[in-house]
Amino acid sequence: MKLYEYESKTIFKKEGILIPDGYLASSPEEVEKIANNLKKEVAIKAQILATGRGKAGGILFAKNPKEAKQLANKIFSLKIKGFEVEKVLVEERLYPSSELFLGITYDLSQKKPVAISSSLGGIDINEISRKYPEKIFTLPINMAWGMQNYQGKLLAKNMGLKSKIMFKAANIAVKLFNIFSKYDCDLAEINPLILTQDGELIAADAHLELEQEALYRHKELEQLNIPIRKDSPRIPTEFEIEAEKIDKIDHRGVAGRVVEFDGDLGLLIGGGGASLTIFDAVRYHGGKAANYCEIGGNPTVKKVKELTKLILKKPGIKGLAVITNVLNNTRVDLVARGVILAMVELDINPSEYPVLFRSAGAYEEDGYKILRKYGIKYLNRDYSIDQAAKTAVEMISK
């Protein structure tokens, strides 16, 4: 789960990492009020769950409260990488003597955390590694021992720091690792870590990503006003939101994980990881999917029915393909019942509508009997997923 900058900073503050003085605002008026109270030049920073906001105009600096309000108006009207700006962080403006980078993530090849430091902060770490690979220092950390002080100092030294400031940076590195470990992070990053002209090290930005599967262990997040949520690479469409509601009707089986596309072939697909293969096969044969949607684990008839109705009601749909791998945990007859019930409820004649089944496994004979009774074309296990995808694409091309 990605955290907003202000949420990450709440954790930083709690764990003793210095952050700029600042507050969250939801309107330009609030920004003006905060700037007035801070009595300093301020930075106004859009709070979105995506990187690259600086280049998109999501971070602006104001000299006085009036200008802060004007600039906030601009930021609130932005849409950055599909995200509307609903909140901004208003902070005292920092004047750095240098900007540094400090981060911790997992190295999957070494199977352990790795700490990264650089004297080049303020720009994307990927860009630093591309242009100045010699400026990046990495250090594997043993999870059982945690980050030792000497490791913190190594990281600080490789940021180009010396004497007292090096000790301060080492202290921050150890604290950052403790946050990484304590909150089950996948990523903990300070970019830039600012060295001020009076020798303080302040986390100007904060980026934490928490492991989704470990969130249940972190009840303390609620006390910190950090709501637990599900990450999405983009804002879900109404169709996807509706599908998620259907999947939650009942705990039994999956009939969801829906992604909307703009094609004309509705898909109900699944089977031990076969969904992506099926989706690719449809594309390979020139088909345009209207959706990606997994079914598996024996969903109830009602769930299959509601999901089928949702897909069939989508504008521009020309046909439906129900294609699964050979399954022993999802009954063919129950899926067939759900699909047919949906068609009947939508006043669609199953024998006339372009729908193709390629399902095999548990209760397949019952399933085929049902499909035959309602005049629905089906392919049995003698036909591959690829052949089924091709047949489905041809079916709606006629």
Binding site: T300, V301, R331, I340
Partner: protein, 74 residues
């Protein structure tokens, strides 16, 4: 009656037992509903759930009166 499954209760047999609701207890897909009406009891079939029947046959096996019949409609 569902589109795919027909489930019937023979109430002449069902009425012979007091407070029995074993069919409701064993059905994994909530097809039977037990209601207590004053001194009477009533077991009914939930129409909207009939097509969820997975033919586990637990109701047939457990009904002490053999009052339930299930039929595939295909």
């Amino acid at each position: 009656m569902g589109m795919f499954v027909q489930i019937e209760i023979d109430y002449n047999k069902c009425k012979n037992v007091k407070n029995c609701k074993i069919c409701e207890d064993v059905c994994p897909v909530e097809i039977f509903k037990f209601e207590k009406l004053d001194n009477n009891r009533k077991i009914s079939v939930v129409e909207e759930n009939i097509d969820e029947c997975i033919f586990c046959n637990l109701c047939l096996e457990k009904c002490p009166q053999g009052a339930i019949t299930i039929k595939k409609l295909y």
